[in-house]
Amino acid sequence: MRVSLFITCLADQMHPEVGVSTVRVLRRLGCEVLFSRQQTCCGQPFHNAGFPAEARRVARTLIEALGPTGEAGDADYVVTPSGSCAAMVKHSYPELFDGDPDELERARALASRTFELSQFLVHVLGVEDVGASLARKATYHPSCHASRFLHVGSEPLKLLSRVRGLELAPLAHAQDCCGFGGLFSVKLPQVSSAMAGEKLEHVAASGAQVLVGTDMGCLMHLAGLLRARGSPVEALHLAQVLDSGHGAR
């Protein structure tokens, strides 16, 4: 099976280790991973800020890069380690390109091939045990766009529960937003951080050493607050946990 990696701009520039882990996890499961260097960003920050023309301009780049004529055009699936960016492609693109039938068709075609990592592993590959091991106590934060827009529910938990040595602690108020929200985090930094502050209270109460998520936006924000406070809790992307115990990390 050929899989085109939609890395997301944030993981590409600031967290390449998440991309590396995603590639390794997919390869271990027998996927051939392709990568189109034409991709940049999905355009979500512009869409969410209320600038649809700019969002379309950026989105066209991604549709071109990940579409059939792009560098990884013959891939069967497009997989991304981000629920938020996957939701942008799957839900907002069709709406964004509603005005042009040709563009809409290309947007829909990409949307239908695009999968968030945990849903791809569990539903497309039919795998729950990826053979990882990590002897830590972890808790899982379901990010809003993954859970509310893509209905990512039990998939990450199923995958995590099969990681050898990993103790999963429940997280209180797990469904509450961490306060990242893209530009929201810099437009209203105090409110954003108060939201993260409450999230971290619940993480602390869970006793976890590792906070796991499916989106680097949320994790960068939470890790930023954890580090500013000198907390020993480590924020890890699901892909990094699933890549653990193979001598890779």
């Binding site: 701009c9 520039q13 066209r60 469904q175 105090q190 108060a194």
Partner: protein
């Protein structure tokens, strides 16, 4: 004092008001405690219902149908109301509605009006207008009375004094009655009951809200928990109902669905303590009820919402407050930070729709992380977070110039893989050479646009030497060598 009355402090913006709220530890504890109670209650009652999703869908369909045929149902309601002896008035805007109420009050020689809870009365600033007409208006919903005594606006749609401690309430009552009280619930409730009972008996006029108006019977439906609604609508000589134009249901059959949906969504109750159906004023031979019944049907921007497909569904709202109770922003800052009559996610949409001209308008739509919890919680499935995006789009030209230019510049850079790659490399290099994760050269970090706001509370990730795309060739070799390690 961190409780900010929007009417008293119009200059502050959402960021300033929320910063004040964040410093108020009591407020934050109280809001958390109360919204948790409400949303847990809602969840439990939704589960107990058995098929709440189907109920939501029925509710949505009823609201959509009613709003699509609003003109017809309004006509039908008015005909049936008048056949039952009531009088209908239409008000195009807030000022006209307040004026109508003031002239009804003056027409019946009223000096004192009692009110039960009505968000529309807040919307049209009724109390201020009545005061000018020489009519004292007393709130009789306990929470509303408390915020009235404090000179504040409601901080929640259904629980107006969510932010007040027992001690603060005692102090307000002591000042009001020039007396000494203890903090026992029975004492405080007893004081309110005694004081308000006298007002009910004295009042010439009663103002109430309206949860739904039933088109085919002309009846007004009110869901209440305190009993004050019954006194307001039966004791005074004249009863005036304030009704948002969209508050219609076609018949009692649809009201029955709303009766299942509204209390469950609002408080988690199966049904409110009281459900009043008021069909006309006192009839010959009846022992109680008002001599006159007026219904003031308020447009105040609703026609404009109806004609705009982006925002039409906001008229489906049944004012349950469920979106407030799940909103992570409301949870941290409470209602007053919004500076709008309706707080929380629904207020962040309604405020800018009612007052597109106000600066508040373009800041409230930003007061959301777009997490979508509001949309999930809405009993009639209004896509609230999508409307916030539409409002941001509507008001995009009013954003600060620097923000607009930055977005345009970023879109240009991101529209080409080459410029994206160059910019990414340059920015990572600069960040590594200067502020790193933000712990170095903090004087500089504070001044960098966007990064400065981020670093006010958080660290940045340490920028990697190589981006993923720069690592990709090595990863390709890894695959060529035959599979990843492990």
């Amino acid at each position: 004092m961190a409780h900010v009355d929007p009417r008293a402090a119009p200059a502050a913006d959402f960021a300033e008001r929320s910063a004040l709220a964040l410093e108020n530890a009591f407020l934050r504890r109280a809001v958390r405690f109360t919204v948790d109670r409400l949303r847990n209650g809602k969840q439990a009652s939704a589960e107990a219902h058995g098929d709440f999703e189907a109920l939501r869908e029925r509710g949505r369909a009823i609201r959509a149908h009613t709003i699509a045929h609003l003109d017809r149902y309004l006509d039908q309601f008015v005909d049936n109301l008048e056949a039952a002896g009531g009088v209908a008035h239409f008000a195009a805007d807030a000022a006209e509605a307040a004026e109508l109420c003031a002239s009804i009050a003056q027409g019946c020689g009223a000096k004192l009006a009692v009110k039960s809870k009505s968000m529309v009365s807040e919307e049209i600033e009724l109390n201020q207008r009545l005061e000018k007409a020489g009519v004292a208006a007393v709130e009789t919903d306990l929470g509303e009375w408390i915020v009235q005594l404090a000179g504040e606006a409601p901080a929640h749609i259904i629980l107006p004094c969510i932010h007040k401690s027992r001690g603060e309430i005692r102090a307000l009552f002591e000042r009001h009655g020039n007396t000494t009280l203890d903090e026992a619930t029975a004492t405080l409730a007893g004081y309110a009951r005694r004081t308000l009972r006298a007002r009910f008996l004295e009042a010439d006029l009663g103002f109430s809200g309206c949860n739904f108006a039933v088109a085919d019977t002309g009846a007004i439906a009110m869901f209440t928990n305190e009993g004050n609604g019954r006194l307001v609508t039966t004791l005074p000589r004249v009863h005036v109902v304030l009704m948002g134009m969209e508050r219609i249901v076609p018949s009692l059959a649809e009201l029955a669905v709303m009766a299942e949906l509204l209390p469950r969504s609002a408080t988690g109750q199966k049904l409110t303590t009281y459900l009043n159906l008021i069909a006309g004023p006192r009839r010959t031979g009846e022992l109680d009820g008002p001599r006159e019944l007026h219904v003031v049907i308020v447009d105040n921007g609703r026609s404009a919402q109806l004609s705009d497909p982006r925002f039409r569904e906001i008229l489906h709202c049944i004012r349950c407050g469920a979106c407030l109770n799940v909103c992570p922003v409301y949870r941290q800052v409470g209602g007053h930070a919004y500076g709008s009559v309706y707080p929380g996610p629904i207020g962040a949409v309604l405020g800018p729709l009612f007052h597109p001209e106000r600066e508040l308008s373009n800041e409230l739509s930003q007061a959301s992380s777009l997490c979508g919890a509001c949309t999930d919680a809405c009993p009639v499935k209004i896509p609230i977070h999508e409307m916030l995006v539409s409002l941001r789009e509507r008001d995009a030209a009013r954003r600060p110039r620097a923000e607009r230019l930055a977005l345009e510049f970023a879109a240009n850079v991101l529209s080409s893989p080459e410029s994206y790659e160059r910019a990414g490399r340059a920015l990572r290099f600069l960040q590594r050479a200067t502020i790193g994760d933000g712990s170095r050269m903090t004087w500089l970090g504070r001044r960098v646009p966007f990064a400065g706001a981020w670093l006010s509370t958080r660290r940045l990730p340490a920028p990697p030497a190589r981006s993923f795309r720069e690592l990709w060739p090595a990863l390709e070799r890894e695959a060529a060598l035959g599979n990843p390690p492990g």
